[in-house]
């Protein structure tokens, strides 16, 4: 905290940049933009375009027949897996948002209070995050397996957790929450570390209870982290795929939009147009959340 007069900064305009700097900056900006455009935007746009054509994945694209909105119409009318898939994605989103995220936040708050053994808790809760989703599917298979699973052995039941469509979505949600809780916890731990203790002390002096302090002071201060968690939860829920694919290829009660897209495009089927239509619908759904996020961020920056 020195009171030494700082040298006045000159305006940092482009005028200060030499030619070489300009080249460097344009390279640094240009190349990532190019990579993003060629690997993200072009395929995305191509996918949207393909969804209006009937192409089997073989032969020249020029021979593909334009079919207008036919695939979209078929998806919502005669494709039996479509509405279940949308429903399961929304259930997934709700479970992640209303169950897994609050649990993660709670874990973060408890660990942040630095009771004994926090390191151990922190590590064990965070461990699932470093595992791949496919591996998590296998790990939980050991718990959920009908004939050899731990859960059935302990409860003495013979429920087919992964095979019975009444239970398997919930089984998958438990497995995915196991990972999501650790992830959210870590983000909030970082957020909590950044909250100025003086704020909490001030609230305490003013006579606020600990819970009140958390909800009225700490939580609002963590706004940027909240936004990040929100977005991660939304996007992760909408693109959920690997776990259910490992369980049973997203069939029989585990249909999700992402598995249906894969089934139609990647498998032996090659209904490229139809699969692209499903993918476009997915893109539309995630765009809603991305737009909301951008609006929040822009408004924040405008303040």
């Amino acid at each position: 905290m020195s009171a030494v007069a700082e040298p006045r900064q000159r305006g940092r305009g482009g005028g200060r940049l030499s030619t070489r700097d300009k080249v460097t900056v344009s390279l640094m900006m240009g190349i990532p933009t190019l990579v993003a455009a060629s690997l993200v935007w072009l395929p995305a746009i191509a996918s949207v375009v393909l969804s209006f054509f009937d192409w089997d994945g073989f032969g020249p694209l020029s021979e593909a027949e334009p079919v207008g909105l036919r695939w979209y119409e078929e998806a919502v009318t005669i494709y039996p897996a479509f509405w279940p898939a949308v429903q399961h994605n929304l259930i997934w989103l709700a479970a992640m948002f209303f169950v897994a995220t609050p649990i993660g936040l709670l874990c973060a708050v408890l660990i942040d209070r630095e009771a004994s053994g926090t390191k151990l808790y922190q590590t064990s809760l965070y461990l699932p995050v470093v595992l791949s989703m496919a591996l998590i599917g296998f790990v939980w298979q050991l718990m959920f397996s009908r004939d050899q699973g731990l859960i059935n052995a302990v409860l003495g039941t013979s429920i087919d957790w992964y095979g019975d469509s009444r239970y398997n979505l919930w089984a998958a949600l438990i497995a995915t929450s196991w990972r999501h809780v650790g992830y959210v916890m870590l983000l909030y731990l970082a957020g909590l570390k950044g909250v100025d203790p003086a704020l909490k002390e001030a609230a305490g002096i003013d006579g606020a209870s600990e819970i009140k302090t958390f909800f009225h002071v700490t939580f609002p201060v963590m706004f940027p982290i909240n936004v990040v968690v929100l977005v991660i939860t939304f996007i992760d829920s909408l693109r959920a795929f690997d776990l259910v694919w490992v369980i049973n290829r997203g069939r029989n009660g585990l249909e999700l939009l992402a598995t249906e897209v894969t089934r139609n495009i990647v498998g032996e089927a090659q209904r490229i147009g139809f699969g692209s239509a499903l993918a476009t619908i997915m893109l539309g759904m995630s765009s809603v959340f991305i737009l909301i996020y951008l609006r929040i961020v822009m408004r924040e920056e405008a303040r």
Binding site: M1, S2, E6, P7, Q9, R20, T24, L27, M28, I31, L34, V35, L39, D56, G57, F58, G59, E74, T77, I78, Y79, P80, A81, R146, D147, D160, Y162, G163, D164, S165, N168, N248, R249, R251, N252, R263, N264, V266, G267, E268, A269, Q270, R271
Partner: protein, 441 residues
């Protein structure tokens, strides 16, 4: 607080000592361009190996222990007979291979690859994705005439070298049946009676699994063949028949009548697990391809297996039609080593190669008529009998139909029927609307 100073220092450093600045930027720029080039240059590079080295690449879809041993026996036999060639084998799990076949064929396929006879091979031939092997096929002696059609395109070019096939039959353990004194049923009514008897004896009458969505297709096929005959099966599979008609509903009604005797919770069970329930004597019988024997130990355990063809439903149609999916090998569109690939295919079609194959994996039999049946196990001799007694040979729902129809429509439809057998009409109406969309009629 000290940032401006450091920034000044930093800027000052630029002017006085450009070296660090330059090097840093140069390194960065270099790294970026390398990164970009790296990204561009990420194309798949197929393994080399032209005809000079005599290497033939082979895409094998048999990853399970017994069939893998069988195919390795074939490779070893070929290399012994043709010492100037070397086979480079790429093994991929069966289901994975199947699901990736399109990308595989459009990418860098192996010279020779394993596939199936029937509509499923023809489908790729029509797209110009595979090689013509008419010359090799014509020179290979002993291929049954009845298989020629299943191995050819619509315009009569051969594209598949058939190797082995296996019938789908009702399999059971002799010891279990002897203990309870069961008799082989000849009609569907006797079959139902037998199932009831098994339930009384505390057995699950029919082992059953449909986790991967294809296993139960066999049950639909055989009931359809029994109730409506072979020609109807062919027409229905190739999209020429209406799925919502009464003839198809009748098949599902028949099946619904048998469902109480099926093993419960089939949608979470693999066929291997269902086969084990038969092997452990918990189930009385299992309608499946004879590859089920792979789950039984060779020797006494396999000798205890026996089977019969699915009983008749309609006496005017009888029980002459069976399903016997044929596995074979195909040539890729542009093989790197065509000569070697064709020599390998020719070898795979020979009686010797096929005998070596089925000796290592006795759950199938050789298609080649010159194969010596005296070397067969008792189980294989029974298969041969069944095949000789067949009036018509169907391939299987997912091999007689379009892959997109079988995997995205019929698999889920049959699973939904198993889950809820009371909703046949609306399920079939949905299948019909999707058939119209996919077959475009």
């Amino acid at each position: 607080m000290s940032r401006p100073q450091s920034e000044l220092e930093y800027l000052a450093r630029f002017r006085t000592a450009p070296i660090s600045g330059v090097s840093r930027r140069a390194v960065l720029a270099g790294a970026l361009s390398v990164g970009a080039v790296g990204l561009v240059g990420c194309g798949g590079s197929g393994g080399g190996g032209g005809s000079a080295s005599g290497e033939v690449s082979f895409g094998n879809n048999q990853a399970d222990e017994a069939p893998l041993k069988a195919i390795k026996a074939n490779v070893a036999g070929f290399e012994k007979a043709h010492p100037d060639y070397k086979i480079k084998m790429n093994t991929v799990a069966h289901t994975t291979f199947q699901e990736n076949i399109n990308n595989y064929l459009q990418g860098a396929p192996d010279d020779v690859f394993a596939w199936f006879a029937g509509y499923r091979a023809r489908f790729f031939a029509e797209k110009g994705m595979v090689g013509d092997i008419s010359d090799v096929f014509g020179e290979t002696k002993g291929i049954p005439a009845s298989l020629k059609n299943a191995c050819s395109t619509a315009d009569g070019k051969q594209i598949v070298m058939p190797a082995t096939y296996y019938p789908w039959v009702v399999q059971y353990r002799k010891s279990v049946w002897k203990k309870h004194g069961y008799e082989i049923p000849k009609t569907i009514d006797q079959f139902t009676e037998l199932s009831k008897k098994m339930q009384k004896d505390g057995l699950t009458p029919m082992a059953f699994a449909d986790k991967d969505g294809w296993e139960a297709m066999g049950m639909f096929d055989i009931l359809n063949l029994r109730a409506n005959g072979y020609q109807f099966h062919v027409d229905l599979m190739s999209g020429k028949e209406d799925w919502s008609q009464a003839k198809v509903a009748k098949v599902f009604d028949l099946w619904k009548g048998l469902l109480p005797y099926h093993q419960k919770d089939a949608l979470g069970r693999t066929w291997q697990e269902a086969a084990q329930s038969l092997q452990q004597g918990k189930s009385g019988m299992y309608y499946l391809g004879t590859f089920m024997a792979q789950q039984f130990k060779t020797g006494a355990e396999q000798d205890d297996l026996d089977f019969f063809v699915f009983p008749e439903v309609d006496s005017t149609i009888g029980s002459g039609a069976i399903e016997a999916p044929t596995d074979g090998f195909m040539l890729s569109k542009r093989p790197k080593n065509e000569k070697g690939a064709k020599a390998f295919l020719s070898y795979l079609g020979s009686a010797d190669a096929q005998m070596a194959n089925v000796a290592a994996d006795p759950s199938a039999i050789a298609v080649n008529e010159n194969a010596d049946p005296t070397k067969y196990t008792s189980l294989q001799k029974r298969m041969l009998e069944v095949m000789k007694g067949a009036t018509d040979v169907a391939q299987f729902l997912d091999r007689d139909s379009r892959p997109d129809f079988a995997s995205t429509v019929m698999g889920p439809a049959i699973q939904s029927f198993i889950k809820n057998p009371n909703d046949i009409t609306s399920m079939l109406a949905n299948v019909e609307s999707q058939r119209k969309s996919i077959f475009g009629s």
